[in-house]
């Protein structure tokens, strides 16, 4: 139970939507055996079966279990964005890369990949950490300084987890700004109450007609 609580922060939670979405990312797989009547998965052929040696992009959650065990129905390959070419780009300058475009769940999916025991697992793990450390300053400065300016341009290159981080930084900044301009001491109706009243009024009109 304790382990569950610790890891439930952002990831690795059965009910975490991010976790589910990250496991939808696809991995290039090669079939080692013939799979009967599943040919419709491969759009490029009209065969009824999936033949041995067919290459398909399968979502992580499927590839993981087909790959596991003694049978090894598929063998998996490293996705392009985690291959050596991209790894070089990340090490050169992590700040120029658009992680959102490369897979909105860059870190989370990367973590999942590690469990597949690919030959370059260690390098991927290192690159994930180094990329985050390299990009951290930009995220922090962006989130702590931009007050009302347009944030879209700053956020578009961030992956989903980085965006959450950015939002947390923004919240801290806004709270402080609100306190400094003496707005937090003013009492105001909570959003829940005012919405509730609105809904009631709508209900009242509906009853009257």
């Amino acid at each position: 139970m304790a382990a569950l609580l610790v890891s439930s922060g952002m990831t690795n939670n059965y009910f975490s939507l991010d976790d589910i979405l990250a496991s939808q990312e696809t991995i290039p797989c090669t079939f080692n055996v013939k799979v009967a009547t599943m040919g419709y998965l491969d759009q490029s052929t009209s065969d009824v079966d999936i033949n041995m040696g067919t290459k398909l992009d399968l979502p992580f959650w499927l590839a993981k279990y087909l790959h596991k065990g003694s049978r090894g129905i598929v063998s998996v390959d490293t996705p392009k964005t985690y291959k050596e070419g991209y790894r070089h780009i990340f090490t050169a300058d992590p700040n120029v890369v658009d992680l959102y475009r490369l897979g909105p769940y860059f870190y989370l999916f990367g973590e999942k990949l590690l469990s597949l025991q690919l030959p370059d697992t260690d390098d991927i793990a290192n690159v994930l950490l180094k990329t985050f450390q390299g990009r951290f300053r930009n995220i922090m400065d962006g989130s702590q300084n931009a007050l009302h300016s347009d944030l879209a341009s700053q956020m578009e290159k961030l992956d989903v987890q980085e965006r959450q981080l950015f939002a947390a930084g923004q919240q801290g900044l806004h709270e402080f700004q609100k306190w400094e301009s003496r707005e937090s001491e003013k009492l105001s109706t909570s959003a829940m109450v005012s919405n509730h009243r609105k809904r009631k009024r709508i209900g009242y009109i509906a009853n009257a007609t």
Binding site: E111, L114, A125, L129, Q144
Partner: protein
């Protein structure tokens, strides 16, 4: 934690005021206050001072550190030092904010005090950010920071804890912890 909660804590700090009324001691759970006698300085918590000031029952004597020359020196010291310097009050920002809001007429050079405090605050936050960056880049798991005030910590709290959480997970991956890789 909220900035207004920290302000609440700051309101327990004592300031000296000169009341213009006389009254016996007030007995409160947190301690006795007073006695008040008109024209004699007395030390009371900030919340009461603000309240009395608003009802024009007293004149607030600014804290010793709230003078322009001292703050200029402090600012210089803060700019010169690589580390955080010891602030005259753990709630310097909050006290300035409250006093400048309600007792501008009691503080000599109020505008300049405000600017100086804000400058010191900005200097310290910039320092805080660059030390956080160094901390993350070095990949260390702990760091020691002296003389940071509560409000300063609070502005980066959510962000920093989240970032460290994220980095911790990525580090577990590097060390090949099976708990992450399930």
């Amino acid at each position: 934690m909220d900035a207004s909660e920290i302000e609440f804590l700051a309101e327990k700090e004592h300031v000296r005021v000169i009341p213009n009324f006389s009254q016996d001691k007030i007995y409160l759970i947190s301690g006795d206050l007073g006695p008040f006698s008109a024209g004699l300085p007395v030390s009371i918590p900030l919340w009461l001072a603000v309240n009395l000031k608003q009802r024009q029952k007293c004149r607030i004597l600014p804290p010793d550190w709230m003078d322009i020359d001292g703050l200029k020196d402090k600012k210089q010291e803060e700019a010169d030092s690589r580390f955080f310097t010891d602030m005259p009050s753990p709630f310097y920002m909050e006290i300035t904010q409250l006093l400048l809001q309600c007792a501008t007429d009691d503080i000599p050079g109020a505008d300049e005090v405000r600017t100086l405090i804000k400058d010191i605050w900005d200097l310290r936050l910039a320092k805080l950010r660059s030390s956080i960056d160094v901390f993350i880049k070095s990949g260390a798991s702990h760091a020691k920071l002296n003389h940071l005030t509560l409000l300063e910590m609070n502005t980066v709290r959510q962000f920093l804890t989240k970032a460290l959480d994220h980095m911790h997970r990525l580090k577990l991956c590097v060390s090949g912890d099976p708990a992450v890789q399930q």
